[in-house]
């Protein structure tokens, strides 16, 4: 729709709708002002109106316009923006119904930490970090860590199920951007910030970094794949068995 990226998230239509409302409001105001402006310039140029009028306009139409703008802003704020934030950004689906994933950003890659079939993330420790074999410092002595696996720049999710992504960073600020999911969230070192959404379309798209994070910022790109539930289960099984056998990822090698 009018140049926006495709929408593949359950909450996306609402954002796009408000975006549309805003641009209609802007267009109406701009055209209204523009017509007034051009009429005034033509009608009151020196040659057609040699003597200026000290008092000028005496209607209160403009105050009415100002009040109307204020009311529309209040409506957009109170009816759309605040409720949206409350239900989509501030409130989260029940963790039992949702899929949970951690995304750990670093210059210039996305480490994606899946908890594996047990659904519990294994412990991590920065002292265990090894750029080659253990980019997140997962503590293999933790029983929950056994089935965990890490992909790099590859985020796979099933369609139709809420996913909660916990965002954190190893080094500097990044910004997790999924244009087609209408998701964008700054990643602040020292914090873990969750976002959630429900994918509604199968297919491939990209993860972008939207916060300047250094010289490789422009190529800090990841891939997002939305599967059907069966495909996803298959992919999950493959990944967890691989991780138990090797514990390594081929990306860095």
């Amino acid at each position: 729709m009018w140049g926006l990226p495709d929408n593949a998230a359950a909450h996306g239509a609402e954002i796009d709708f408000v975006m549309l409302l805003f641009h209609i409001l802007m267009l109406i105001l701009f055209i209204g002002w523009g017509i007034f402006f051009l009429v005034a310039l033509v009608r009151f140029k020196k040659t057609s109106h040699p003597k200026a009028d000290y008092h000028g306009i005496r209607s209160h139409f403009s105050s009415a316009v100002e009040i109307a703008v204020a009311i529309i802003e209040i409506i957009l704020l109170a009816a759309f923006s605040i409720p949206f934030w409350a239900k989509q950004v501030n409130a989260f689906p029940n963790r039992k119904d949702a899929l949970e994933v951690r995304v750990i950003a670093e210059q210039f890659a996305w480490n994606i930490h899946y908890p594996g079939p047990d659904g519990i993330f294994g412990k991590t420790d920065i002292q265990l970090i090894d750029k080659q074999s253990n980019p997140l410092g997962i503590d293999q002595s933790d029983p929950h860590a056994k089935d965990d696996f890490v992909t790099i720049n590859q985020l796979h999710l099933p369609i139709g199920r809420p996913v909660i992504i916990y965002l954190s960073s190893k080094d500097v600020m990044h910004c997790f951007s999924l244009p087609i999911m209408r998701v964008k969230q700054d990643i602040i070192p020292g914090m873990s910030i969750p976002v959630w959404f429900v994918p509604t379309k199968i297919g491939n798209s990209e993860i972008g970094c939207a916060q300047l994070c250094g010289l490789g910022h422009y190529r800090m790109k990841g891939f997002l794949t939305i599967h059907t539930q069966e495909e996803y289960d298959k992919w999950l099984a493959e990944q967890s068995s691989q991780s138990e056998s090797s514990g390594e990822d081929s990306f860095w090698n």
Binding site: M26, F30, A40, K51, L77, K170, I188, G208, Q211
Partner: protein, 582 residues
């Protein structure tokens, strides 16, 4: 005072060349120093951006001729490195904001015009004024020098977000030191403006008779005075993080390229953002209010009628001044903010948009019933209105967090604020230069060259920034070295980069008539009388150019600033200092 300064001097009291032109204390000379330096920096910042535009239009292709001059550390074989692109971006922003627009709008126009418009002989503290200019100059030199040190200039954006800025190359240290100088300069200037406007208004110049330009400068000075200290403090803290290994902005547990950082940790990344935006939001009003002041003067003068709502303007600008201190976190919606806090900042942001709408409405309404003269200053002032309108309107979807999610950090933001500062503020400042040039130099600028400057600039500005809205809606991020070529969702709008870049370069070409006009008119322009635009405010009641001490006789003020076309008067303007209207 005029007897003390301008008459009956023997040779010994003549100010030396150094005191007149270099370490000057006269507000007009300082204003000119500011103006020339700032115009130079604006041009320089523009050149940085033109280089970036090459890389955005033709990513990875060697830049002919110029590319080689810029050195193999920046552009090996003429191909720009990402490091260099990031330096250009950060320095373009910093230079344009802190070394171009603010010094031109406040340092130059404020210094030159405010004392004249309030009927004062000089600023309240002439020596502080001098120090303020030289602090700015030193800050500028530090910033420029940073391009030549190993690792180059600052490259973490004009926002210098930590931790990136904390671990960046030495250029960032130069940026901080430069900023401390620039901030000091602005603080000294702000104190001076506030004192001058409160204390040195001439007899009869009540607050409600101040030209709107003076009001705008007054509020601007308060913004600078109150908003800059937090950033100055923050800059010093960042300096400490960088050189003394403190951790004000560094949390524990950072691992950079696989190596844990040797820091104590425990700091807060968001603290920097709060301190930065606590300055930087008021700062955007610092960039726009003086421009609105210039526009008000020129509109009243060229419509030959009073502004439709002087009081609304004054109350709006005061209200903006207060509100601008409680909207800063609208730049931080996506940092993980809860509903309550973000509701607060959205509400304040929507509230602050109302006085801006009122100001714009007053300007539009003032045209109605006028007898409009399309002089060159007026053309720029008229163009300001719809351009500022676009910039202001597109701020609304950025101000509500629901629509900020897709738009944040995209080219939509770039387009939004450039509509405000480029065809907005810069056009207002051009208008001001064309308007006050005859008073400053005693000569008039050429109209034909003015038209050749104005029309292509207006077209190019729109060809540059309008397509950026489209790119932004398509989700293309800003600050990308390849303009988004890496991303699939950007592909549909990449071709616009070529149009944008060519428009930017053509825009540069059409600044040449302006530069030529400035220099040529200075020497060869037709002589102007004291009040060529038949204006009402006090600066036009001085000799031309105004001498040291400004007024031959200190004027007294009898009426408001914009008494044009008073019913019953013979001429269509009633100067503020003229007791009886003839």
């Amino acid at each position: 005072m005029s007897s003390e300064h301008s008459q009956g001097h023997d040779e010994h009291h003549q100010l030396s060349w150094w005191r007149t032109y270099v370490f000057a204390t006269d507000h007009k000379m300082i204003g000119l120093q500011y103006g020339i330096t700032a115009l130079f920096f604006l041009l320089f910042g523009f050149c940085l951006m033109m280089l970036m535009r090459w890389q955005l239009a033709y990513p990875g292709q060697p830049l002919p001729v110029i590319g080689k001059w810029l050195g193999s550390a920046n552009m090996p074989d003429g191909v720009m490195l990402p490091e260099f692109y990031n330096q250009l971006g950060a320095m373009h922003g910093t230079i344009m904001v802190f070394m171009g627009i603010v010094p031109l709008a406040v340092g130059a126009f404020g210094n030159y015009i405010v004392p004249l418009q309030i009927g004062a002989a000089d600023m309240a503290f002439p020596r502080i004024n001098m120090v303020s200019y030289w602090a700015f100059f030193v800050g500028g030199v530090v910033m420029l020098t940073s391009f030549f040190i190993p690792g180059g200039a600052a490259s973490s954006g004009w926002t210098s977000y930590t931790p990136l800025a904390d671990i960046a190359t030495t250029g960032q240290t130069f940026w901080i030191i430069g900023m401390v100088c620039l901030i000091t300069s602005s603080l000294l200037g702000a104190v001076n403006f506030i004192t001058t406007i409160i204390q040195l208004r001439t007899k009869g110049m009540t607050f409600m008779r101040l030209p709107f330009f003076v009001w705008a400068q007054f509020v601007t000075a308060f913004l600078l005075l109150l908003a800059f200290p937090p950033l100055e403090a923050a800059a010093i803290l960042q300096l400490m993080d960088r050189i003394a290994h403190t951790s004000f902005f560094l949390p524990s547990g950072l691992v950079v390229s696989g190596q844990p950082l040797e820091i104590s940790g425990g700091g807060s990344v968001l603290l920097w953002q709060h301190l930065f935006w606590f300055l930087a939001h008021p700062e955007v009003y610092v960039l726009i209010l003086p421009a609105m002041g210039v526009i008000a003067e020129i509109l009243a003068n060229n419509t030959r009628r009073p502004l439709s709502g002087y009081k609304s303007l004054v109350y709006s600008v005061l209200f903006i001044g207060f509100m601008s201190f409680i909207v800063w976190a609208h730049h931080m919606y996506l940092t993980g903010m809860g509903t309550t806090i973000s509701a607060f900042f959205q509400a304040t942001t929507m509230i602050i948009s109302i006085p801006s709408v009122i100001i714009l409405t007053v300007f539009f309404l003032s045209l109605w019933g006028g007898s409009i003269r399309f002089t060159i200053p007026m053309l720029f002032a008229l163009a300001f209105l719809p351009m500022f309108g676009i910039g202001g309107l597109t701020g609304l979807p950025l101000g509500l967090n629901i629509t900020d999610i897709p738009l944040h950090d995209t080219y939509y933001v770039i387009a939004h604020f450039h509509y405000i500062v480029a065809p907005g503020t810069i056009f207002a400042l051009f208008a001001g230069i064309y308007f006050w040039f005859p008073k400053i130099t005693g000569r008039r600028m050429n109209d034909v060259l003015g038209h050749i400057h104005f029309w292509p600039s207006l077209i190019c500005m729109n060809l540059i920034f309008m397509p950026m809205f489209i790119q932004g809606l398509a989700g293309v991020s800003r600050r990308l070295y390849d303009g988004g070529a890496e991303y699939a969702h950007a592909q549909g709008t990449l071709h616009l980069n070529v149009l944008i870049s060519w428009s930017a370069w053509i825009l540069a070409i059409f600044q040449l008539p302006f530069i030529f006009n400035l220099i040529w008119s200075l020497f060869k322009g037709p002589k102007s009388n004291d009040n060529p635009w038949e204006s009402t405010t006090l600066e036009w009641a001085t000799p031309t150019p105004p001498p040291h001490g400004n007024f031959v006789k200190i004027p007294e003020v009898f009426r408001g600033p914009y008494e044009y076309s008073l019913p019953g008067a013979k001429t269509d303007f009633a100067p503020q200092c003229q007791q009886i209207v003839t």
